[in-house]
Each structure stands twice: as structure tokens, then as C-alpha cells.
Amino acid sequence: MDDIDRQIINRLQGGFPVSERPYREAAAWFGLDEAELIRRLRRLLDDGYLSRFGPMYHAEKLGGGLSLCAMAVPEEKFEQVAGQVNAFPEVAHNYARDHQLNMWFVLATETPERIDEVVEEIERTTGYRVYNMPKQKEFYVGLRFQV
């Protein structure tokens, strides 16, 4: 990764033109031509530095439900419960964290009402309480990952 790659990563996390020739427009920010920017983006994706190049959607505005949930699961049951939880297609990601509430996952559902149903289904399947903590407010975050 060179200096221009780093500039690309830092700048293009913040936005991208929506126009007929967006790569040509953005390439000029880095003193590149269109083909060179496309080549570099493809390489950064292929090398695994980027997960994707596209939109970040606002789940609720698209009519869906989104929530952060946590559970307290005994260590010896953790793998088994993680398997049960991850089997739900609504579980978008799931992290272990070092706390009494040690399993943290995000639910993304097609409708807001579906969140409560999935929470209940997970409680019933696993036998453990689910702490459902949907966001009440999102604060603006200025800088992204700087490289």
C-alpha cells in the first residue's frame, strides 16, 4: 500500500460522487486518471483491505428493524448458544465480549415489529434472557479509519 492508496482510503470513506463518470471525478482528487483509480480500488478490494465499495443504508428508513442485543451465557454453554443464535438469519453479526454480558449481536429484520419476535424466539430457543437495546439516537461521527 502506498501513499496514494492511503489517501484514497481516507478520503473515499467520506463519500463518492453520484454522477455519470464518478471514478473520473474522484480520480482527479488524487491526481490520477480514471483507469488508475479503478485499478487501485480493485486491488484494495482483492487484497482484502476493503470489504466493499457502495452504499451504507439506514435500516430503519428502508422500513426495517435494527437492534443491538446482548446475553449473559455461561462459558461452557457459549459455543452451543452461539450456534443457536447465529442460526437465525436476522443475526447480522455476533461478537464475544469480555463482560458478564458476553455475547453481543446485531439483529436486522425486514420490519421493526419483527425485532421483538426474534428476541422472544431466541430467548425461547436458548433459555437465556436477551437484553434488547435499540438505538435511540445516533451521534454524528466525523473521522473514519485513518491509515
Partner: protein
């Protein structure tokens, strides 16, 4: 914004990424039976209404050397939570900041932020620094580092 069936088709078509070609919107349009002008107009409307929060590249933070990620949770008095949330959001390395409901008695925290860093010690130093700079010493907090990641597919739409 009321989403039409055409908007939904577009939302699904670009969710995994924009084509890396000189006329990406024309290419998207070809796949879903719209011309370039309509695609661009609909994407702009989705941005203006906030359905698309931002458009750009999404990094894999582990691959960029951000190996430690902490969820820092704070129990902020309700009348201060918006001001503290705004201030935290402006800090470098804070990548997300949300207000969420407390779940008493087990969970007293109402403000959540994610802090990423190259290693745990650096993240902890950074938390000390922002605690001091923003005068948050009196606010109870906990730092939850992530361990294993069991699933990561991101949300899917449509």
C-alpha cells in the same frame, strides 16, 4: 420517503457494491431495466432522504491494522447525554456513537461508542485521554473489548 418497487430493485442491486467500471450507474441500470439517468436520480433521492447514509468505501479494519476494538459504555445523566454523545462523536478513533436504553438493574449504561486502535493498550490510553479532555471522570463507564467474532455478514436488504 416512500420507496417504490423500482427503488427497492435499485437498493438490492447496489447493496454489495458499485461496479468498478467507468459508467457504473449505466451498468447497474442495465441489470435492472433502468437507464443511467433514472438510476442516478433515484440514488440522489435516496441520499437526500437519508436512506443512504453515505456512499463510499467500507474498510476491513483488522486488515488495516486496527486489531483492538472496544465498546465503551457510559452511564450519563439523561440531561447530559446528547452533549456528551456529540463530543464523543467528534473524537478521533470513535467510529460509532449511539444512545441506547438502560436495562436496569443489570445494565445501567445509556451511551455506547466504538473505539478502534492498533492494540488494546493504545485503545485504553486513548479512552483515558478523551475521559480527561471531555471531563468525564465522574461518569461511570466500562470497556468491553471484543474477543472472537462469530458471524459477520452485515445486514441484507431486499
Amino acid at each position: 420517503m416512500v420507496l417504490s418497487e423500482r427503488d427497492n430493485r435499485l437498493i438490492a442491486a447496489i447493496q454489495s457494491g458499485l461496479p468498478l467500471s467507468p459508467r457504473p450507474w449505466a451498468e447497474v441500470g442495465e441489470r435492472i431495466g433502468m437507464d443511467e439517468e433514472e438510476v442516478i436520480r433515484r440514488v440522489r433521492a435516496l441520499q437526500e432522504s437519508g436512506c443512504i447514509k453515505r456512499f463510499g468505501l467500507v474498510v476491513r479494519h483488522h486488515e488495516l491494522g486496527y486489531n483492538a476494538n472496544a465498546m465503551v459504555v457510559w452511564d450519563v445523566p439523561d440531561e447530559r447525554v446528547d452533549a456528551v454523545g456529540d463530543a464523543l462523536g467528534r473524537q478521533r478513533c470513535v467510529t460509532l456513537c449511539y444512545r441506547r436504553p438502560r436495562r436496569l438493574p443489570h445494565w445501567p449504561y445509556n451511551l455506547f461508542c466504538m473505539i478502534h486502535g492498533k492494540d488494546r493498550q493504545r485503545v485504553l490510553d486513548y479512552i483515558d485521554q478523551i475521559t480527561e479532555e471531555l471531563d468525564l471522570q465522574e461518569i461511570p463507564k466500562e470497556v468491553l473489548f471484543s474477543g472472537r467474532r462469530f458471524k459477520q455478514r452485515g445486514a441484507r436488504y431486499r
